[in-house]
Amino acid sequence: MLKDIRVSCSPHISERLSTRSVMIDVIIGLAPAMAAAGYYFRIHALILICTCVISSVAAEWLCNAIRKKPNSLDDFSAVVTGIILALSLPPNLPVWVAVIGSVFSIAIGKMVFGGLGANIFNPAMVGRTFLTASFGVLMTSWMVPVTIDSEIAKIDPDNKIKAVAEEGLVHARTRATPLAWSKQAIKSELGADLYSEEQFKATLTGEVGGSLGETSAIALLLGGLYLLIRRTINFHIPLAILVSAFIFGAIAYLIDSYSYVQPLYHLSSGGLLLCAFFIATDPVTAPLTRRGMWIFGIGVGMLTMLIRIVGEYPEGVMFSILLMNAVTPLIDRLCKRIPAGGKPSA
């Protein structure tokens, strides 16, 4: 009668969802940011994104080949890592640096832990941090968007735009990066009010210097919204990050509104939005439970602002991500779920 039947454990049906579809969703969510990057940085964006994706994928393939494990490229997670890494790098980064970063991300950040799902730290951030530590100068040299008239942009001969303090009010959009500017304002006691309305608008559209994918707040919000609607990510982590960062920024602003920028500027500039929607939400490295996600998000937000405000670096996103990744196992342990019926008495 029946010849070709199968047996297996229940359940025998499942939702139409796969790791690959989740990853593709993330790529779609990143598309607006990539488009914005492409618009503002043109060929630089294309080169950087392609380099990172290709070398990430190649590195993953190689690692699997070395371990004689089945190929795992079709889950697309390496592509996501590549894109996120690219979006967090300065647009004019030399290609070879991007290759080193991608290979480090995948090999040390992911594959040595056992590949997809096993990594403790966010691979892209591991790569970026390594690059920052290794090639600090290259990693902090920013270019202005090509859409800005070169007449206005006072680009130094060596193409490193260090904000020129003595010229006072430089054209808002040509300052290094919004955060670097605000940091410098604190240090040189120029006062953060130089951080103008115009600049804030520029951070929304993205016509500012900065990492490839972080400049346009609107594009990031759009992508984040897509992920939220698709339920690829939960709202907990982004909300916790943005709210805690805002509160922290607000406290600093209230204490000294002369040297610290308005909290809203903090949200719109730098990698915070990219982080909140795409990086901190990396499910692998974030806590599993809702309560854990709140703690994680608040931690990321607070650490980011702590580093931005008190620390040495203008941007704290990648460090706070890695730090919170490190304590994620502890958070998960702390937020261990208790069965619905309470702990068994025995």
Partner: protein, 294 residues
């Protein structure tokens, strides 16, 4: 001249010497008193093991110092060999201490696998997709037609710490050279196919089947299953048949003519030898496909 030099040296050197002397003797005294006054009695076994250890308290074993490791090893001999500084030498010493507890009387217990169906002998009703473990597969009725035979997913081979079990062409084969008789495999098998029996001889005769089906239904699903026909019982009373399945009383088994006859007369050739030098088991009827290494 030299004397003067020496004296001069001495004069600059003595404070250090004396300080050290004071320190040294002070510590010696305190430690001596402490070691006698604050002595805590512990299990002599632990003490023995502790003594065998290098006492470096380096933590390489993953425990909080040698004392803790000693305690742990006593409880769980599988932890043996974790002391990197001590090396194999220390391990063997600890093993000696531990072995004092093991009484060895009677023949060694060794596992036998009571199923000899190779892949070709088995009948399948369906294809199993899922977790590749015997326990998981056994939870589903009739993953194989025979509800008693070896599932060949190798839970037992994973349980064996000594690499003494292998799945060859769907059969679980014990490597009696490597086997230490630790019983881990017999505990692991969800179908209770692996039985620890006293190996009175180098090779033991076993009934390599576990099927309690009636002869007819056994025959319909397995070429090498015991059909409970009772021919073997007629040869020697070492055999008995219960629940359609022949068994051997291993405590009374000895290699002799009758047993040999029983083995040869078994219609499905389910009585075979197992042991270090056991001959290849005979094949009933048509030869199955040559055993390919799994």
């Amino acid at each position: 001249m030299i004397l003067a030099n020496v004296l001069e040296l001495w004069s600059s050197v003595w404070p250090a010497g004396v300080t050290m002397l004071g320190l040294g003797s002070g510590f010696a005294l305190v430690l001596l008193i402490a070691s006698e006054k604050l002595k805590v009695t512990v299990d002599p076994k632990i003490e023995q093991i502790h003594e065998a250890l290098p006492n470096l308290d380096c933590g390489a074993c993953g425990f909080a110092g040698c004392g803790q490791y000693a305690k742990a090893v006593l409880g769980d001999p599988e932890l043996l060999g974790k002391c990197a500084p001590g090396g194999p030498e220390t391990s063997s010493k600890i093993a000696d201490v531990l072995n004092l507890q093991v009484s060895d009387s009677g023949p060694q217990q060794r596992p036998i696998v009571r199923c000899r169906a190779c892949t070709a002998d088995k009948t399948l009703y369906a294809q199993y997709q899922g977790i590749q473990s015997c326990i998981a597969a056994n939870a589903l009725a009739n993953v194989q037609a025979c509800g008693f035979g070896c599932l060949s997913f190798g839970d037992c081979t994973r349980a064996c710490k000594f690499d003494a079990l292998h799945i060859v062409d769907g059969m679980t084969i014990v490597d009696y050279e490597k086997c230490t008789g630790c019983t881990a495999c017999s505990k692991a098998c969800p179908r209770n196919l692996i039985e620890m029996v006293p190996f009175g001889y180098e090779n033991m005769m076993i009934v390599a089947c576990n099927s309690k089906e009636t002869g007819k239904s056994t025959r319909s699903i397995c070429k090498v299953g015991c059909i409970g026909c009772g021919i073997c019982v007629k040869q020697t009373d070492v055999f008995s048949v219960e629940d359609n399945l022949a068994r051997i009383d291993f405590t009374r088994y000895e290699p002799n003519e009758q047993a040999e006859t029983a083995m040869n007369k078994c219609p499905t050739k389910v009585i075979i030898y197992r042991g270090k030098t056991a001959p290849e088991p005979p094949q009933p009827g048509k030869k199955p496909v040559a055993a390919t290494k799994a």
